[in-house]
């Protein structure tokens, strides 16, 4: 609860805690990068297997979907007796939430590769492996990057929850602020984590643009759906 009488933000506190803000910010970034990185390492092969052998997609999607539905606080509590108040506990939780998003998007991206492109590539003598690495994955990249962006942004949000087990990066400020009714800390944690999420999203979008120059050149497929730009929309 925010105490209204209190000043909304105390800049002197902010400036005197520069060191701590920085280290928690770095921790936040680390937790996110490791979570999405490990998530990618796990989900990437699983997605490829699911793409090659369609019947495996359902169980994989089911299991990662199950992980995704476990409330994060509950998951941390379940893991506490096993892995304790550690980075491992935090990362297990964070990684499990990225899997569904990353696998889904990768599989969607791979299955969106046009059949005629694959047929032509096979006919020209691409091996299965060359087809995957030089044709299917590059063409799935926009979808894979979209998955990574969602995973990164949602992980940055979830890291704050891991403050409950003492490994929450900027979430630490929010938790402390809530416990001590100190608005400055709550705002600081919230604003910085939102800013981090926005910046990471923009950076990844930029990276995607650089990595997929062909998708900038046209084709209605790549345009986002914007309702008020559709013909017939009442307030066009």
């Amino acid at each position: 609860m925010i105490a209204l009488a209190d000043e909304l933000i105390r800049w002197d506190w902010v400036f005197s805690h520069g060191q701590e803000i920085w280290s928690r910010f770095v921790q936040h970034v680390e937790l996110t990068v490791i979570a999405v990185g490990v998530g990618l390492l796990i989900s990437f092969p699983l997605a490829i297997v699911a793409h090659r052998h369609r019947f495996l997609y359902t169980p994989i999607a089911w299991f990662t979907g199950l992980l995704y539905t476990i409330p994060s606080i509950a998951l941390f509590v379940i893991l506490l007796p096993i892995t304790g108040l550690s980075y491992t506990t935090a990362e297990i939780g964070l990684v499990s939430y990225t899997l569904l998003i990353l696998i889904r998007n990768t599989v969607v991206g791979l299955s969106g590769v046009p059949e005629d492109v694959k047929e032509a590539a096979r006919g020209m003598g691409y091996t299965q492996r060359e087809l995957l690495w030089r044709v299917e994955l590059p063409l799935a990249l926009p979808a894979i990057m979209a998955g990574i962006r969602i995973a990164v942004v949602s992980t940055i949000g979830l890291v704050t929850v891991a403050a409950l087990i003492g490994r929450g990066g900027l979430g630490q400020f929010i938790l402390e602020g809530l416990q001590t009714f100190f608005n400055t800390e709550i705002l600081l944690g919230a604003v910085l984590s939102v800013a981090l999420a926005l910046a990471a999203d923009a950076a990844l979008l930029g990276a995607q643009r650089v990595l997929t120059p062909w998708s900038r050149t046209g084709g209605p497929r790549t345009r986002p759906f914007i309702p008020w730009k559709k013909p017939g929309f009442p307030i066009g």
Binding site: P114, D116, V117, K118, E119, A120, A121, R122, G123, M124, G125, Y126, T127, E130, V135, P138, L139, T212, P213, W214, S215, T217, G218, G219
Partner: protein, 365 residues
């Protein structure tokens, strides 16, 4: 160059054969068109040659070697492949697309660049297009890039599955003509699949007409298929204008021309009239030392002693020895006459071609 011996294909879960006991010999440098209704197994047959589909029975030899005993990847790199939708790699530029197989074959960059430039020129692709992505090209340009890409490592054999079907008829006709010109020089061994009999007639050295289930109904040059369809299926598939289509394949020079009324420009009117009389026409061709000048009719000679006084009129129904009979017929009909004059090199008068003679050619088939 390519030989199919008793090849059959039965797809899993299907009781019918997609291709039944098919044998075909395709010679080096020959364009063979597989044509037939959908379900006749023409694409399946083609795809068995580069093992995108494996035959259930029979043997396929390419250049004397059994395809089933080769690494399919190596086999495919040595066979040009073009499909209807072209399947250009959307994430690669035009130059990179053309360089696909050379790159797989580990050519060095300089050789690849030179080859790409050469092919782009051959196919009339502006060098500016090199760095464009396929989504930025017109339909015709995409088809050209697709065929250029298939020729990149100069494979002796090309498989083409309706390569010109995805563009409008005008562009298609142009691409066909261009490709015929290129093939004239390259002399590749080509297996070409289409459902369009007119395209088959135009592109083929020999046509294999397939029936449902991959049964070979006739395998012959286009002219023979039109002249002597093996059975009712072929006759029906070739269509109602069989005679007219065949005329397009026969050159005027092949059936020979007839003598017609012809006089020298110095001749007297009297002689001109005698010549007209002899051939039963009321006009005569005027030549100058064998060179075609035009024609005069009986009426214009009235009261004039010599042809030198009568300016000859230009022929409108005019064909050359290299024209097809179809073109000759078109010239005759559109000019509301029944005779066309035939000229050879340098406008030399060769004779005349009558509508009766052309129709005789149709009937004799």
């Amino acid at each position: 160059m390519i030989s199919l011996e008793g090849v059959s294909k039965q797809f899993r879960g299907s009781r019918r054969l997609a291709v039944s006991n098919l044998s075909l010999e395709i010679s080096e440098g020959e364009t063979v068109v597989l044509v037939g209704p959908s379900g006749c197994g023409k694409t399946t047959t083609m795809r068995m040659i580069n093992r995108l589909i494996e035959p259930s029975a029979g043997t396929i030899l390419v250049d004397g070697k059994d395809v089933m005993k080769q690494d399919p990847v190596i086999l495919r790199r040595g066979i040009g492949y073009v499909i209807q939708s072209i399947g250009l790699l959307p994430h690669r530029t035009v130059a990179q697309n053309i360089a696909t197989v050379p790159k797989l074959a580990d050519w060095d960059d300089r050789r690849i660049d030179a080859r790409v430039d050469e092919l782009m020129e051959t196919f009339g692709l502006d060098p500016e297009l090199k760095d464009r992505y396929p989504s930025e090209l017109s339909g015709g340009q995409r088809q050209r890039v697709g065929v250029a890409r298939a020729l990149a490592v100069d494979p002796p054999v090309m498989l083409m599955d309706e390569p010109f079907a995805a563009v409008d008829p005008i562009v298609r006709a142009r691409l066909q003509d261009e490709f015929l010109g290129i093939q004239e020089r390259l002399r590749k061994t080509i297996v070409f699949v289409t459902h369009d009999i007119d395209e088959a007639i135009k592109m083929a050295d020999r046509i294999a007409i397939l029936n449902i289930g991959g049964i070979l109904e006739q395998y012959a040059p286009p002219e023979e298929i039109l002249r002597a369809p093996a059975n009712a299926f072929v006759e029906d598939f070739v269509g109602a204008e069989r005679g007219l289509k065949r005329l397009a394949l026969i050159k005027v020079a092949e059936i020979g021309v007839e003598d017609g009324p012809v006089v020298d420009r110095e001749a007297s009117s009297e002689e001109a009239l005698r010549v007209m009389e002899k051939f039963g026409y009321d006009w005569a061709t005027v030549v100058d030392e064998g060179r075609l000048l035009g024609w005069v009719d009986r009426g214009s000679l009235d009261g004039r002693p010599s042809l030198a006084d009568v300016p000859p009129r230009r022929f409108s129904a005019y064909v050359t020895a290299d024209s097809s009979l179809r073109e000759a017929l078109d010239a005759i009909v559109t000019n509301q006459t029944n005779v066309a004059v035939v000229a050879g090199d340098g406008d030399r008068y060769l004779g005349i071609l009558t509508v009766e003679r052309i129709s005789q050619e149709i009937v004799s088939s």
